[in-house]
Structures are given as structure tokens and as C-alpha cells.
């Protein structure tokens, strides 16, 4: 039986099949190579993370980066997806079957179809169909495996590596998330269960804030009432935490210790302890702010002529974590004198349900008619808002209060100024010189006056002399730090027996400027207190003697005392003249300004007082320097000290607090901490303040 005849069409179909097979092989190799690239990158990153902890940001980039690399490989090899032509497939077959002698290429070429009978005969003679079929069976099979073998091996190797690497590390790279440092399985080099911490903060539900996770923080900053969970890498190992007077013991969870607490209302230091290990965390509570309420309308206090109509009320509300409700409150007071009545209420109450809203508005109208106000009545209006704080209760925010008054009929067109009388002048004290002149005149009239009238006039002068003496006594004892004022009788009792001025002055001197002053006037060994007050005390005593004589009806004997008193009063006036002369500041003339050839910057020469220097800054710097030295010997202790210092400066200097936190974290991480320490010290020392100078054109 003769073999069936092979036609050209059969051969073409067979070569076409070979071309398809070749295309499948090329595409398969490309896809497998891309997959191998992806898996290799994943496995390599996991292996690196096992030995060197990769940061979360790096890990987040691993799988996307692997996908990008695989995609790039597909893009570069995209030509492999195109179909293989019949001619190329025939050539590829003839390369591997030299016995065909290139007749196959010619046989599948459509340009020679039916034109070359010898070729057809040759094809039949050499049974090309068999040759092609054998190639497809043998050669293609080997070729397919050859092209896909390499990527398949790479994929298998990477998968095996992933299976052998710690599952925690594989997951950390596959699904990076904050706080997954605990998944990383490291050799038990450190026995410190506090070496690695993950802190999870869950804010209160009312805040609507997401849960946050941080790894190895030095401080925990969270809303008051937040649930704070601290987890460690190892088992509990009797870990406990203390803050204020509270002690919380850790519990086991998934083979790791964890403790949960509520963020307190005040800053404090949380001390974690386990055996001999200690670690500090600063707890920095964030208080829920009260709603901010701004009363838009009425914009200012006002007076209404008539008690009718209505007030338009508008307010804007805002809160950091969501508003709960708002309203306008009013208080109306009416009446006069001691009879007042009050009426209060709310209008425009508004609720803010649903999702937390940080901003809102209130609008309402307050009917003056409904309040039944009368002339002279007042109504006080304010807006209030409450937030959603469910931990410590809703916080109340209030706006400014506006006062609306109904005018009285009698105050129209008047200026509301309360007239104040001028101060009462000193009318009841005659001068010592006048008393002296009166006494001298009385003494001259001694013979002309009857005894009784003479004595009566003398006693009248004595009364004035006594009044003046009390005035002088008040001045002296006010200066010496004792209460004078209206205690004239007490002064009299104190000086009923004229004392030695020196003893009084010595006491005052000891109580004030003893051993510190020098004489301004008078004797060189007198202090200012003595120099200024001695003449007045002496005048006081001379006046006493004068008034005693005048009381006895002897103005002639009183006159010498009065002259001495006047003389001492003059001395006291001289003693108080103190001239001080300061050093004049050097003046620099602005020549350009004088010649009007400069430019005026238009800046007013406003001088603002500089803030007082922080007395604690130098002390904090000294402590920081000690911590720098400590960091070389005891890093853990230095980190704890930095945390404590951070807590101290948190209120006055938040920037320095952040730098200190970074320094503490750097110390805990180990390695070079120079940059963090330099930044922290600069922040503690404070920046050099650049101040705009006084305008060159301003007044000095």
C-alpha cells in the first residue's frame, strides 16, 4: 500500500501549527519571567527585612515595585505576543532539519504555488509532512521546555525561600501596616521585653478620629479618654506600667505582653518596668476644646428707642471634634432701684446630628414684643454651643454677650456723662507762716484786748496749729511706712509725749535703708530717710510746743517755737530737692534724612517690649548637656531623661519638645545621634531673634 500523497496545503497547515506553537512558547516564557521577577523581589525584600529591619515606607514600596518591574519586563518583551509568520516557522524547522534542503520554505511560499511541478514532486518524494510532524513532535517539545525552564526554576526558588523565611517577615512585606514591627521575628539577642513597643491609640468614639499606631514612640499624644494599648515583642515577663498613682499590669496576648489604659487628663510620665528594665513614655493628653462661638448679629450693644420689633440673631459655631447643639440664651432684666425682675430663655435651639460637624451656624429672631420690655429694660443675648464630648461631658462654648437696652423718654438727646464734683481743696489747714503772722499780730494786740478775748483768740490759733501739726505728722508717718491717714488721734497718742526725733528716725532708718544709703542733704552721715524726715519731725515737735503755749494764752512764748517750726519746714523742702543726671545717649545724625535725599520706608517707629528672658532656659541647657554625656555611657537612661525634659518643655516650647522626642528616639535606635542632638540643643537654646530695627526715619 503506497503512502498517501502529501499536498502543499497539508504542509502549510502543519507549518502554521508550528508557528502557533512557537508563539505560545515565547509568550509563556515572557509571562513566567515576569512572575519570576515579582516573586524574586518579594523574597529578596523579605530576606533583607529578616536581618535588617526595613522601615514601613520601604516595605510599602516592595510589592508595588515588584509589580512595576514585572510590568516593565512585559512591556519590553511585548513583541513576543505577535504571531510567528509561516515563512519564519518554516525557516526555524529547516534549521533543525537540514535534510529538507530549504525546500520547505519554498513549498510554503504562496508565490510558487502550482508553478513548480518539480517542487511538488520533491515534496512528495521526501515526505515533508512526516518531517514537519516529527519536528513538531520532538523539536518543539524540547524547545518549549527549554525556553520556560529558567523562569520556572527562579519562581520555584523564590517560593521556597518565602516558605522558609519567617512568616512574620513575609507578612510584613506583603501587608505592611503601622505597628507590625512585632511580627518581625528576630533572634533573641536582647532579653529586654521593653526594647520594642507598639502603641495603639483609639480616640473616643465621639471624636470620629481613626485609630493610630506608632512604633517605639517616646511620647504618646492622644485625646483625653483615648484607649491606649501598648504592646511588646515578647511575653509578659511581669511587665507593668505606673503613672501618677495608677499601676497597670500587662497581660499576655498572642505570645506578647500588652497593657491597656485610658489617656489621663494631665501630662504625666508612664514608667514601664519589667524586672531590672525600665522605660519611660510621656503621656501628653490633648484636651477637647470648647466650641468657639462668634456672635455675628447683633454686632454690638445698642439702645432701642421703642420696645417692639425683633432682634436678628446670627452666630457661627466651630469645634475641633464636632458640634452637638447650639442655641441663643437671653436674660431680660426690668425694673429700677431695688426692684428688679429677670426673665430668661433660649431661642433658635439647633441640634447637629449625624456625622460630626466641625462648623455650624445658628440663626433666630428674638421678639422684643414677646418679651414685653419697657423703657429702661435690658436684654442680654449670647450664643452657646455644646460639643459631643462623651468622656468628660459636653463642653460649653459661649459667645460674647450683647446688651440691648430700651431707652427712657427722659434720656433722649442727652449725653450720658456722670458729672463728678471737683476734689475738695485743703481748706482747713493754714500755713505755718500764716499762723506765725497771726500770733505776732495777736501779741501786738495783747494790751488792747481783754484777757478772755485774748486767750480765746490764742486758743483759736492753737487749734489751727494743732491741725497743721497733725497734717505734718501724717506726712511723716506715711513716709516711714506707718499708716497716717485719718488716725490723727492715734498719732497724737503716739506723740503725746514729744519724743526724740532721733529715736523715731533711727527706727525708721533701720526698717528701710539701714546701712545702704548715703546722705543727700544735711549731715554727711545721714541716710536719705533721716535727711528728708528729720526736719519734719523737728517741725512737728516745735509745733507741739507752740500749740501748748497758744493753748495757755501765751502767743509771745509760742512765736519762737513757730519760727523754728517754719525754719524746719523750709529745711525739709530743701532736703527733698534731688537732682539726678543720666548719661545722654550718643546721637547719630541721619545725613540722608536731613538732606532729604533718602527714601522713607513708611514704617512707624513702634517699639515693642521684648519678652522677658526665660530663666529656665540655661538650666535646661545644662541638663541637656549632661544627657549628651550620659548617652555615651547609658543610652537608655539618657533617652528616659530626654523624655522627662521633653515633658517639661512641652508647654513653653513645643518645637524643642519635638526635637527632644526625636533625640530620644534616635538614642533608642542607636547609631549616630549627632544630628538629633544638635537639632534638640539648638531648639532648646532658642533661635537668634531677628528684629526689624527702628525706622531710620522715625523719631528716636
Amino acid at each position: 500500500m503506497s503512502a498517501p500523497m502529501t499536498t502543499r496545503l497539508d504542509i502549510q497547515a502543519r507549518v502554521q501549527q508550528a508557528a502557533e506553537s512557537l508563539r505560545v512558547a515565547r509568550v509563556s516564557r515572557l509571562l513566567l519571567s515576569a512572575l519570576a521577577c515579582f516573586v524574586s523581589v518579594w523574597a529578596a525584600a523579605t530576606a533583607i527585612d529578616t536581618f535588617v529591619e526595613l522601615s514601613a515606607s520601604v516595605r510599602q514600596c516592595v510589592l508595588p515595585g515588584a509589580a512595576v518591574a514585572a510590568s516593565l519586563m512585559l512591556w519590553v518583551g511585548r513583541a513576543q505576543f505577535h504571531a510567528v509568520t509561516v515563512e519564519r516557522a518554516a525557516l526555524w524547522i529547516e534549521e533543525r532539519t537540514p535534510s529538507l534542503r530549504y525546500a520547505l520554505v519554498t513549498a510554503v511560499d504562496p508565490r510558487y504555488a502550482g508553478r513548480v511541478p518539480e517542487l511538488d514532486a520533491h515534496v512528495n518524494t521526501h515526505r515533508y509532512d512526516d518531517a514537519v510532524r516529527s519536528v513538531l513532535r520532538g523539536v518543539l517539545r524540547g524547545v518549549l521546555w527549554g525556553v520556560v525552564r529558567q523562569p520556572v526554576f527562579v519562581i520555584c526558588g523564590a517560593v521556597v525561600a518565602l516558605l522558609l523565611l519567617p512568616r512574620g517577615s513575609v507578612a510584613r512585606v506583603a501587608r505592611p501596616s503601622p505597628g507590625d514591627t512585632l511580627r518581625r521575628e528576630v533572634p533573641a539577642v536582647s532579653r529586654d521585653p521593653l526594647a520594642t513597643l507598639v502603641v495603639v491609640v483609639e480616640p473616643p468614639a465621639y471624636a470620629g478620629m481613626p485609630r493610630t499606631t506608632s512604633e517605639d514612640p517616646s511620647s504618646v499624644r492622644a485625646l483625653v479618654g483615648s484607649r491606649v494599648t501598648i504592646r511588646g515583642r515578647r511575653g509578659s515577663d511581669a511587665v507593668y506600667a505606673t503613672f501618677d498613682t495608677t499601676r497597670v499590669a500587662a497581660q499576655d496576648g498572642d505570645g506578647r505582653w500588652q497593657l491597656t489604659m485610658t489617656m489621663p487628663g494631665a501630662s504625666s510620665v508612664l514608667t514601664l518596668a519589667s524586672g531590672a528594665h525600665r522605660r519611660l513614655l510621656s503621656l501628653e493628653p490633648v484636651a477637647d476644646s470648647a466650641p468657639v462661638v462668634v456672635l455675628i448679629a447683633p454686632a454690638r450693644d445698642s439702645i432701642l428707642r421703642r420696645p417692639n420689633g425683633s432682634l436678628v440673631l446670627n452666630a457661627e459655631l466651630s469645634d475641633d471634634h464636632g458640634l452637638a447643639s447650639g442655641a441663643f440664651e437671653y436674660i431680660m432684666s426690668s425694673g429700677s432701684g431695688e426692684s428688679f425682675t429677670f426673665k430668661s430663655g433660649t431661642v433658635g435651639a439647633t441640634e447637629f446630628p449625624g456625622e460630626p460637624k466641625g462648623h455650624g451656624t445658628l440663626s433666630a429672631r428674638l421678639s422684643i414684643d414677646a418679651l414685653e420690655m419697657r423703657p429702661g429694660d435690658l436684654v442680654h443675648v449670647r450664643a452657646v454651643a455644646r460639643d459631643r464630648n462623651s468622656v468628660s461631658g459636653p463642653t460649653l462654648g459661649v459667645s460674647e454677650t450683647r446688651t440691648i437696652r430700651i431707652a427712657r423718654a427722659d434720656e433722649y438727646d442727652s449725653v450720658a456723662v456722670d458729672a463728678a464734683p471737683p476734689p475738695e481743696p485743703e481748706k482747713n489747714a493754714l500755713s505755718q507762716r500764716m499762723l506765725l503772722l497771726m500770733s505776732q499780730a495777736l501779741e501786738k494786740k495783747r494790751r488792747a484786748l481783754a484777757k478772755g478775748a485774748f486767750v480765746a483768740e490764742s486758743r483759736a490759733i492753737a487749734l489751727d496749729q494743732t491741725r497743721l501739726r497733725k497734717r505734718v505728722g501724717e506726712i511723716v508717718f506715711q513716709r516711714l511706712g506707718e499708716s497716717g491717714g485719718e488716725e490723727g488721734d492715734a498719732l497724737d497718742r503716739r506723740l503725746d509725749r514729744p519724743t526724740n526725733p532721733d529715736s523715731v528716725l533711727a527706727a525708721a532708718d533701720r526698717a528701710t535703708v539701714a546701712n545702704s544709703g548715703t546722705a543727700l542733704e544735711g549731715n554727711a552721715d545721714e541716710t536719705p530717710v533721716v535727711a528728708v524726715n528729720r526736719p519734719l519731725l523737728e517741725a512737728y515737735n516745735f509745733m507741739w510746743s507752740a500749740s501748748t503755749e497758744l493753748e495757755l494764752g501765751e502767743p509771745g512764748r509760742a512765736i519762737p517755737w513757730m519760727q523754728k517750726a517754719l525754719d524746719r519746714l523750709q529745711a525739709a523742702r530743701s532736703a527733698e530737692r534731688i537732682y539726678l543726671r543720666g548719661k545722654v545717649r550718643a546721637v547719630v545724625v541721619d545725613i540722608a534724612k536731613v538732606r532729604l535725599s533718602g527714601k522713607d520706608k513708611g514704617i512707624a517707629s513702634v517699639r515693642a517690649s521684648r519678652p522677658a528672658a526665660d530663666p529656665g532656659r540655661a538650666l535646661r541647657l545644662t541638663r541637656f548637656d549632661a544627657m549628651v554625656e550620659l548617652a555615651a555611657r547609658l543610652p537608655s537612661a539618657a533617652a528616659d531623661s530626654l523624655v522627662l525634659l521633653r515633658l517639661e518643655v512641652l508647654a513653653p516650647d513645643r518645637d524643642a519638645a519635638q526635637k527632644l522626642e526625636a533625640a530620644a528616639a534616635a538614642v533608642r535606635r542607636g547609631g549616630d545621634v549627632t544630628a538629633a542632638f544638635v537639632a534638640a540643643r539648638r531648639a532648646l537654646a532658642g533661635d537668634v531673634e531677628r528684629r526689624a530695627g527702628i525706622s531710620l526715619w522715625g523719631a528716636p
Binding site: V584, V587, V588, V589, I591, V594, R595
Partner: protein, 204 residues
């Protein structure tokens, strides 16, 4: 900018040479205001016994208290005047006894030579502004010479026609002793004569 003129206040060991600290700034302001002279914005204080004084053609000396020059100060002052400097002395003293006047004129006579009355027609009074009546009077002028008289002339030591020492009892130190920014409150600038002194010292 280098300055053509720097106001120089003379320091001397006795007395209070710095009794009028605002006068230099005020005259600097006037020189800048009325002339195109390149003037330094601040003055300098130079000891009379220092040779630095030779760098300044005009030197201003004032005070309240008795003046006694040291030998070095006398020698320096004599050389300063011989070399063309002009010492402008103003009596800042108000006391009746004229203590500054008596002691200072005595010292100037010992160091430079006797002073004599300066004519009101002297070129000094026309060197920039014209003062036909001689030196302008001041509100502080009383009896600084101790003779209870208000003098219509200044005194000077002349080297030829040039003034070597110009001596004033007008108490310009008080008259001109205010901050130059306050000049805007005055209807007439009372420091113009100071400009004449400066221009004279720089041009003669």
C-alpha cells in the same frame, strides 16, 4: 563715603568736658542741612593731649567747672593752633563768679596767647550765613564773664587774620544742647552760627 568734616569735642583732664553731649549732633545736623559738606554722622571725642586732634581742623571745648590744662595739653593746644586748627571754646557756666571763664581764659592765654575782642565785622560772621550784628544772642546768656554784663562780642586769639581760638560766653552749649530732631519745633534755627564756625574752620 569719606567725610570732609568730623565734629571733634575736646577732652581735657580737669572739669567736665562732656557737659553738652547733644551739641555735636545738632551742629552735624545743621552742617548737613545747610551745606554740601560731606559730614560724618557722629562726632568724635579726642583728648587734648593726643596728637589725634591734628586730624580735625575744628575742635570744640566746653564745660562748667574750673579748667586747668596739663603741660602736655598746653603744648598740644599751642601746636594745634600753630598748625592751623581752630579751637572753639564756649562757656557753659551760668554762675555769677564766672569760674569757667576765669580759669579757661587764663589757660588759653598761657597756652596760645592773650585773647582780644573779636570784631563783629570779622569774616567769621559772613562765612556762610550773615550775622550783621555779630554773634547771635542766646536765651542762656547771663554773666558768664563774672562782670554782670552781656557782651556784644566774642573773644579770640588771632594768628594774623586767622582765628586760632574762638571764645564765646554766649553759652551756645546750652542753646544748642537739644536733639536735632527737635529742630523742627523751632521757628528759627538757632544753630546757624555754628555752621559759620564750621565753614570758617574748613576754609581759612
Amino acid at each position: 563715603m569719606s567725610a570732609d568734616f568730623t565734629f571733634c569735642t575736646v577732652q581735657y583732664d580737669s572739669g567736665d568736658w562732656d557737659s553738652a553731649p547733644l551739641v555735636p549732633a545738632n551742629l552735624i545736623d545743621s552742617v548737613a542741612r545747610y551745606t554740601s559738606i560731606r559730614v560724618a554722622p557722629t562726632g568724635v571725642s579726642v583728648p587734648l593731649g593726643s596728637r589725634d586732634i591734628f586730624r580735625y581742623p575744628l575742635a570744640y571745648l566746653t564745660g562748667h567747672l574750673p579748667v586747668r590744662f596739663t603741660d602736655l595739653e598746653r603744648r598740644t593746644l599751642r601746636e594745634y593752633c600753630d598748625r592751623g586748627g581752630l579751637l572753639f571754646v564756649d562757656d557753659h557756666n551760668h554762675d555769677v563768679d564766672g569760674v569757667f571763664h576765669k580759669t579757661c581764659t587764663d589757660e588759653i592765654a598761657r597756652a596760645v596767647g592773650p585773647m582780644k575782642e573779636l570784631s563783629n565785622a570779622h569774616p567769621l560772621f559772613n562765612s556762610f550765613f550773615t550775622f550783621e550784628d555779630g554773634p547771635p544772642a542766646t536765651s542762656h546768656e547771663l554773666n558768664g564773664w563774672g562782670d554782670n554784663l552781656i557782651h556784644k562780642h566774642l573773644q579770640a586769639v588771632l594768628h594774623g587774620d586767622r582765628i586760632a581760638v574762638l571764645y564765646s560766653n554766649k553759652d551756645y552749649s546750652s542753646e544748642w544742647g537739644y536733639h536735632p530732631d527737635n529742630k523742627r519745633f523751632m521757628s528759627v534755627d538757632n544753630t546757624k552760627f555754628g555752621v559759620n564756625v564750621v565753614v570758617y574752620a574748613l576754609t581759612r
